[in-house]
Amino acid sequence: MFKRGTLFLGFWLLVSISVLSVTTPSYGELTSDQIAAKSEDVHPGSDQQSKLTFIIREADGAERKVVLRRYWKNYPKESDIDSKVLVFHEYPPDTKGTAFMVWTYKASPQQKPEDLWIYLPILRKVQKLPEHPDEIFSGANLKPSDMIPRDVSLDKHKLLREETIENQQYYVVESTPKVKVPNYTYGKVVKWIKKNDFLKERIDYYDTDGALLKKQLITWKKIKDAYVWEKVVLTNVKTDVQTILNISDVEINTGLTDSSFSERTMSSGRVR
C-alpha cells in the first residue's frame, strides 16, 4: 500500500512540472544558459486545479489507468515555501479517497527537502512520509528527481544544435550536472526547446555512461497567460513502459487558500 501511495505521489510530482510557464520569447543571439533559463522560466499562476489521467502501458501492452484531482498553489513571494500540492485519487476505485500533499521549498544553500503526507482511507489517518528514496518510484517510470523542478544553475548547458522537426524549429540543449549528487543520477539531459516560445517539447534522459534511458514528449496548452502541460508521453527505452498523462479540466487562479492544503482537507476530501 505504501508503495502504491508513493507511486501515486510520483504521478503528482511528474505533473508538478507542468505549472511552469514561459516568458516572452527573445529573438536575439542567446547562449545555452539563457535558453535553458528561458525554458525553465515559467509563471505558474497563483494556483491551479486540474484532472490528471495517467495511462501506464507495459511492454506487453497491458494498461492501467490512474485518475487524480490536483490542486496546486504557488508561493512566489514567500522566502521559504515554493509551492503546495494536494492530490486526490479518483481512479481506480480501490484507491479513491487516497490523498497526497507535498510542500516544496525554494532552492537555497540549505536546501530543505520537500514534505510529503499521505492519507489512506482504510487507515483513516494522515501520515507524514520520510524523504522519498528513488527506488520506490520505479513503477511510475520517473524518479522523484525527474519530477522536481531543477534549478538551471545546478547544470552546465550546451547548445548542441538547432533542429527542425516537422516544420518546428528547436534548440537542442544538453544539460549536465555541475556536481554529482546522490538524488540526481542522470549523466545528462537533452532538451528540445521550441525557438518561438521556449517550451520544452522533448526531454531525453541519459545515464552516467551516456546511454539513453527515457524519452519524454510534452504538449503544452495555453490557459489565460500561462502554458500548462496538456499531454505528456514518457517512454522508458529500456523497459518499453510508457506513461501517458492527460491533463484536463484545468483552472487557473481559482483563489485556493493555505487552508486548502492541510491534513484535514486530505482526510475530508473537500477543498475549499
Partner: protein
C-alpha cells in the same frame, strides 16, 4: 462434248444444291446461333453482374461487421474513453478552440508532438495496425478512430488531420450521439491518390456514440474480386452510380468515365438483366451485350449513405469475343462445308458417273444398234429404270434382228422367185426364140431339148413322139444319152409307160427317184439309168403329139412353178411342133398326120 454434258450438269446441280444448302445452313446457324448466343451470353453476363453485385453487398456488409467488431475491442473503447476525458470541465467553445489549435499544429508545424506520438503508439493504434496487418494487404488506406469530438485517437498511420468532426463521414456516423453506420460513395481520395470507399461506424457505449471508426478502403483492392470475376479474357465488370459516373473499372483504372445516359437508363433498374447496346463504355459503337445488376445494399443503407445514390454493376466484353463462338462455328461450318463440298464434288462425280455410265452404255448400245449391230446387248445392272430401258433396247434389238432376218428371208424369197421368174422367162424366151428360129422339126426338137436341159440343169433329155410311119411312139430326138439299141429299147420301155400316163391324162409326170417309185414297179430299171425323170407333154390343141423327157442322175424335185413353167414351155414346144409339121406338110404335102 455432249457425252460429258450430263455428268457436268449433274455435278453442277449437286454442287449448286449443296452450296445453296450450305449457305442456308450458314445463315440459319448465324442467325439462330447469334440469337441463342446473345440469350446465353446475356444470361451469363446478368449472372456475372448479379454475382459481383452480391459479392459487393457481402463485402460491404462484411467490412461493416468488421468495423463493428473493431470498435467493440476494449483497447479501442478505452482509448476513446480516455480521450474523451480530456474534455471534462471544458465548454464546447474551449474544446473546439483547443482542437483547432492542435489541428493547426497537426497540419502545419507538427514538431515534437505528444498527441501524434500517442496516437501512433497507443494500444488502440497497435490493435488497428495488427488488424490491418492480419487482413488483405493494401485494402486499407487508413483505419482511424476518433473521440466524441472528432479528434483522432488512434490510426494505422499518421492521418492528414487531427480533427475530422466536420467531415461528412464523421457527422453521419456520430449522428449527434445516436450513432449510425455510414458508407461513402466511391471517390478519388486526394490524400492517398486512389479511389476510396469509406465505411464509418460509431463506437457505442451505453447506447450513446462516444467515437467513430473510419475504415478507408482502397477500392482497387476492395473490389479486386470484381476484376478477377471473368467469364472470358476481355471482360470488364464495372460499377457505376446513379449519376452515371463510373466508379470502378478495372480496364480503365482511375480514368474518369461517364456512362451513356441511354445505357444508364437501361441498367439502372431494380432487377438484374441484360441489354444489347452500341453505347458500351469500352466498345462504343459496336453492338455489345451488357449484363447489369443493382447493388442492393446501396438501397438498403439509406439516403445518408453513398451520397444518396445507387450503385449498379454492369459488364462489358469485346463483342469479338462475345460472338467468337458463332464466328468460330461459322468458320468451322464453312471449312466443313468446303470439305463437304469437295467430298460432295467427288461423290457427285462418282454418282454422276454411276448414273451416266449406264446412260452412256445405253447411248453406245443405241449407236451400235443404229449402225446395224443388232447382236450387241446393252449390259446395265442398275436395277432401276435405266436397266429396264436397257432391257427394252435389247428386246428392241432382238425384235429388229428377227424382223431383219424375216425381211432378208422375204427378200431372198422374192429374189429367188424373181430369179426363178427371170429364169423361167429366160427359158421361155430361149425356148420361144429357139422355136421361132426354125420351122424345122428336128431343129425344133434339138434346140428346145438342148435349151430345156440347160435351163433345167438336167443331164439328158429326149423327145418321145408318135412316128406316123411306124405308127408308134419313138425317140425322135435326144441329148446326153448314148442311145444304143438296147439302151433305146430300155428307155423306150420307160418312156412308153410314162407316155401313156401323160397322153391319157394330158399332164406332166415326174418321178424324183424312179428306183423307188411304186408307179414304176413293173418297169425294170438298170443301175446306169437316171434317177429322176420328168415327162413334159408337148401339147397342141389339147393333143399330145410328143413328150419331152428330162433325165437327172440325181434326185430332182420340181417346184410347182417349175412344173407350171415346164407345162407352159411344153405347150409352146407342142405348138412349135405342130407348126413345123404343118410347114412340112405345106412343103411336101406328105407330112405325117397327127392322130
Amino acid at each position: 462434248m455432249k457425252k460429258s454434258g450430263l455428268q457436268k450438269r449433274l455435278i453442277t446441280s449437286i454442287l449448286a444444291v449443296s452450296f445453296a444448302a450450305g449457305l442456308i445452313v450458314l445463315i440459319v446457324v448465324y442467325v439462330t446461333g447469334r440469337t441463342a448466343l446473345k440469350t446465353s451470353i446475356g444470361g451469363t453476363f446478368r449472372e456475372l453482374a448479379e454475382t459481383v453485385s452480391s459479392t459487393i453487398d457481402l463485402s460491404i456488409e462484411h467490412h461493416i461487421e468488421e468495423s463493428k467488431l473493431l470498435v467493440s475491442a476494449q483497447s479501442v473503447l478505452s482509448a476513446i474513453e480516455d480521450s474523451n476525458l480530456i474534455y471534462e470541465g471544458a465548454t464546447n467553445q474551449e474544446i473546439e478552440k483547443r482542437i483547432q489549435e492542435i489541428e493547426a499544429r497537426w497540419t502545419g508545424g507538427v514538431g515534437v508532438n505528444a498527441y501524434l506520438f500517442e496516437v501512433l503508439n497507443n494500444r488502440a493504434t497497435n490493435y488497428l495496425k495488427d488488424f490491418a496487418a492480419s487482413g488483405e494487404k493494401g485494402i486499407h488506406n487508413i483505419i482511424l478512430i476518433t473521440n466524441e469530438k472528432g479528434a483522432v485517437v488512434g490510426a494505422t498511420e499518421k492521418p492528414r488531420h487531427y480533427y475530422y468532426g466536420s467531415q461528412k463521414w464523421w457527422r453521419s456516423a456520430y449522428n449527434n450521439g445516436i450513432g449510425s453506420t455510414y458508407v461513402s460513395d466511391i471517390y478519388l481520395n486526394e490524400e492517398f491518390g486512389v479511389k476510396t470507399l469509406d465505411i464509418a461506424t460509431p463506437v457505442m457505449k451505453s447506447g450513446k456514440a462516444i467515437g467513430v471508426i473510419l475504415m478507408s478502403h482502397n477500392v482497387d483492392s476492395f473490389l479486386k474480386f470484381v476484376a478477377a470475376t471473368k467469364v472470358g479474357t476481355t471482360d470488364n465488370v464495372m460499377l457505376a452510380n446513379s449519376d452515371g459516373t463510373i466508379l470502378f473499372s478495372p480496364a480503365t483504372g482511375t480514368k474518369e468515365l461517364q456512362l451513356d445516359k441511354g445505357l444508364l437508363q437501361e441498367i439502372s433498374k431494380e432487377q438484374s438483366g441484360w441489354v444489347t447496346t452500341r453505347a458500351d463504355v469500352t466498345y462504343r459503337g459496336r453492338q455489345s451485350i451488357v449484363g447489369y445488376a443493382p447493388v442492393k445494399i446501396t438501397a438498403a443503407l439509406g439516403k445518408e449513405n453513398i451520397d444518396g445514390k445507387r450503385w449498379y454493376v454492369f459488364t462489358s466484353q469485346d463483342p469479338g469475343e462475345t460472338f467468337m463462338p458463332v464466328y468460330s462455328l461459322l468458320l468451322r461450318i464453312g471449312i466443313a462445308g468446303l470439305a463437304g463440298a469437295g467430298l460432295i464434288a467427288i461423290l457427285a462425280y462418282l454418282t454422276a458417273g454411276k448414273i451416266v455410265r449406264p446412260v452412256r452404255e445405253l447411248q453406245k448400245g443405241a449407236e451400235l444398234m443404229g449402225t446395224g449391230d443388232l447382236d450387241y446387248r446393252i449390259t446395265v445392272t442398275t436395277g432401276d429404270e435405266i436397266e429396264d430401258l436397257a432391257s427394252k433396247f435389247n428386246d428392241m434389238a432382238s425384235k429388229l434382228k428377227l424382223f431383219y432376218i424375216k425381211l432378208e428371208e422375204m427378200v431372198k424369197e422374192r429374189t429367188r422367185e424373181l430369179e426363178q421368174r427371170n429364169e423361167e422367162i429366160s427359158i421361155l424366151y430361149s425356148t420361144v426364140t429357139t422355136l421361132n428360129q426354125s420351122l424345122d422339126l428336128d431343129m425344133t426338137f434339138t434346140e428346145s431339148l438342148k435349151t430345156l436341159i440347160e435351163v433345167m440343169k438336167a443331164e439328158a433329155g429326149a423327145i418321145w413322139m408318135l412316128d406316123n410311119k411306124r405308127r408308134r411312139f419313138a425317140i425322135v430326138a435326144s441329148q446326153g444319152i448314148d442311145l444304143t439299141t438296147a439302151r433305146e429299147q430300155k428307155m423306150s420301155e420307160i418312156f412308153e409307160f410314162i407316155g401313156d400316163k401323160i397322153i391319157n391324162h394330158g399332164k406332166m409326170w415326174a418321178s424324183e427317184n424312179i428306183t423307188v417309185d411304186d408307179r414304176l414297179e413293173n418297169i425294170s430299171i438298170s443301175e446306169e439309168d437316171f434317177i429322176s425323170i420328168v415327162g413334159i407333154p408337148l401339147k397342141s390343141k389339147d393333143k399330145v403329139p410328143a413328150i419331152m423327157f428330162l433325165l437327172y442322175k440325181n434326185i430332182k424335185a420340181l417346184t410347182s412353178r417349175e412344173e407350171e413353167m415346164l407345162s407352159s414351155i411344153g405347150s409352146h414346144i407342142g405348138i412349135a411342133i405342130e407348126n413345123s409339121l404343118l410347114f412340112a406338110k405345106l412343103l411336101r404335102h406328105d407330112e405325117p398326120e397327127i392322130t
